[in-house]
């Protein structure tokens, strides 16, 4: 299939349909509105179902119902809407159901703005909703990767019966790039646990996250965490760029990782060796990769770059156990770091050593 020029949001929607997603429940919010619009147009043509729900709370609970009934289902929203969805995300994680949640992040807190941000990192990676649970979080840095990760996200969700989130930002959602959809055969795994009607002689299926007996509740959480251990073992994705002889390693994901790559070239031209570790999975976090490069003698320090006041930096510091200095550069509230400013920061850090 030839490459087509598409907005990130549209690419997500098209990739979802190609991945066999047939159910979408959402609520309008900028800057992700192209996703529901695309789904509203295309899902009826492929025998699917689209609902513009009465709220984000309802939308995620529709996802919960559809996922429990065995449907390949997704929702999308942006920061304030994702906050509203946290109730349902916690239930979906608790009841171990597969689904895709897309967050095209905008600035916050509160109503915030509509420009790109990465300030939902804590919410996405550290839980967001109530209780002991994890969501797999994928962070694409381009439109092609967005499309590819959507397809993978559904498979990861099915494999572990767990919600998967794609975290983009207003920039990735709105910008256009050429994208190619690899026409691959979609195989959706059997879901013997789905509530499709209790046939005589078969065990009943119950979708539930209530455990009133404390020992049962603890056992359930321990079971979830056994699963999370498997995910941490199998699903870490990360890109390392120019790290081999870097004296400074930038840690950045999504849009900021793209800016970092640009700056790395500029720094190289000035004789400063800078590398990049780009987590593609924000959870599970590529801890071992950070640890490995922190042990390298040529790496003198790390610089975390985020469109927030510094959230992922905590995971970077935890990963390398503060064995090397971890600096931070960020813009927030919808402001995007300028390459020139980031380069100045790198020169400053180099001068400090």
């Amino acid at each position: 299939m030839a490459k087509v020029l598409m907005k990130g949001n549209e690419a997500i929607a098209e990739a979802a349909i190609q991945a066999g997603c047939r159910y979408f429940f959402g609520y309008p919010i900028t800057p992700q509105n192209e996703i529901p619009a695309y789904m509203a147009k295309m899902l009826p043509k492929v025998g699917g179902s689209f609902i513009q729900a009465e709220s984000e709370v309802s939308a995620i609970n529709m996802v919960y119902g559809a996922a429990g009934a065995g449907g390949r289902v997704m929702t999308s929203s942006s920061s304030p809407g994702i906050s509203l969805k946290q109730e349902g995300i916690s239930y979906i994680a608790g009841a171990e159901l597969p689904c895709l949640i897309v967050n095209i992040v905008r600035g916050g807190p509160g109503l915030g703005g509509i420009q790109p941000a990465q300030s939902d990192y804590f919410q996405a990676v550290k839980g967001g909703g109530h209780g002991d649970y994890r969501v797999v979080v994928l962070a694409p840095a381009g439109i092609q990767e967005m499309a590819d990760l959507v397809i993978d996200a559904f498979d990861i969700a099915d494999r572990y019966r767990n919600p998967v989130m794609i975290m983009g930002d207003g920039m990735l959602g709105q910008m256009m790039e050429p994208v190619e959809f690899a026409k691959k055969e979609v195989t959706i795994s059997e879901k013997p646990w789905a509530t499709i009607g209790n046939k005589e002689g078969k065990p009943r299926n119950i979708i539930n996250s209530l455990f009133l007996d404390t020992q049962d509740m603890e056992n359930h959480v321990l079971k979830l965490f056994e699963k999370y251990k498997e995910i941490e073992k199998n699903e870490v994705r990360v890109e390392c760029y120019n790290c081999e002889d870097a004296e400074i390693i930038i840690a950045a994901y999504g849009t900021t990782a793209r800016i970092a790559k640009n700056v790395i070239q500029k720094a190289g031209a000035q004789g400063i060796k800078v590398g990049l570790i780009r987590p593609i999975t924000l959870w599970p976090f590529p801890t071992d990769v950070f640890k490995k490069w922190a042990e390298a003698d040529h790496v003198k320090s790390f610089l975390t770059v985020e469109m927030s006041m510094g959230q992922m930096i905590e995971d970077v510091r935890l990963s390398i156990k503060d064995t090397k200095p971890v600096h931070f550069y960020g813009r927030t509230g919808g402001m995007v770091p300028l390459p020139g400013d980031l380069l100045k920061e790198i020169i400053k850090i180099r001068g400090e050593k």
Binding site: E54, S58, N61, Y64, A95, N198, I207
Partner: protein
């Protein structure tokens, strides 16, 4: 000898946890009988609420979902969109449906979702210990209206059936009561009809069932039934509020 009375197939037979004199048990049986009568047990998916009936998934012998508080109609919508040929019902109390879940019930009805909702109105929050419900009567003393519900500060009790009857997508809504045998039989008919309306694809169907909460009302079971008749029915008139034929 022919059996004249037995447990419906659509009940698991697990002893329920409801308080003595509570009418949840009756409603569970009526719903199960309707499912059996219509021969839809293997094709039905139920959604349990948060509230006293939170464990309904242990009692109904069908595939079940446990929903978050108030969200059952949204959960049921998701199920029904994936399984349009299945019968999907929600079982909800007054806190669940008439307070925290008003958006979900109104819009499920407004979309004309082909769902059946069993709405238990006992004018109080049972599970959490007798707090005021949106359906608590004026003057009713509860844990959170200790001086009696006042229209001035708490507003008037909400009539959900009448409200939902104004919605185009609602195909059938009826209010029934369980305060005597005659009315229990009427309730049984209404519940069965609410399933038939869904099966016929007519739209959203709901039965509101005036029920008792002897524990939190502080009454003996018989006294509670009389309270339904004397106090609830005058404010919540029984009967069909809407029926699309």
């Amino acid at each position: 000898m022919a059996k004249v009375f037995e447990k419906p197939k659509a009940l698991t037979g697990k002893p329920n946890h409801y308080c003595p004199g509570c009418t949840h048990g009756i409603v569970h049986r009526l719903v199960a009988e309707a499912i059996d009568d219509l021969g839809i047990r293997e094709n039905t998916v139920g959604v349990a609420p948060v509230g006293c009936a939170v464990l309904a998934y242990e009692y109904f012998n069908v595939d079940m979902h446990e929903a978050a508080h108030g969200r059952a109609p949204a959960v049921a919508t998701g199920i029904k969109r994936v399984l349009p040929d299945n019968v999907v019902f929600t079982y909800q109390g007054d806190g669940d449906l008439a307070s925290i879940g008003t958006a979900e019930i109104v819009h499920a009805a407004n979309r004309g979702e082909k769902l059946t909702t069993i709405f238990i109105n006992n004018a109080i929050y049972g599970m959490t210990g007798g707090q005021m419900a949106p359906t608590s009567l004026l003057g009713q003393v509860t844990a959170t209206s200790p001086y009696g519900r006042s229209a001035e500060t708490e507003g008037h009790p909400i009539r959900m059936s009448e409200m939902l009857a104004t919605i185009e997508g609602t195909a059938y809504v009826e209010r029934v009561s369980l305060h005597d045998i005659k009315n229990i039989l009427k309730a049984k008919k209404a519940i069965k009809k609410a399933f038939e309306v869904q099966i016929a694809g007519k739209g959203f169907a709901m039965v509101e069932i005036l029920s008792t909460c002897p524990t939190n009302w502080g009454m003996a079971p018989a006294e509670a039934l009389k309270w339904v008749k004397d106090n609830m029915i005058p404010y919540y008139p029984l009967g069909v509020k809407k029926e699309v034929v």
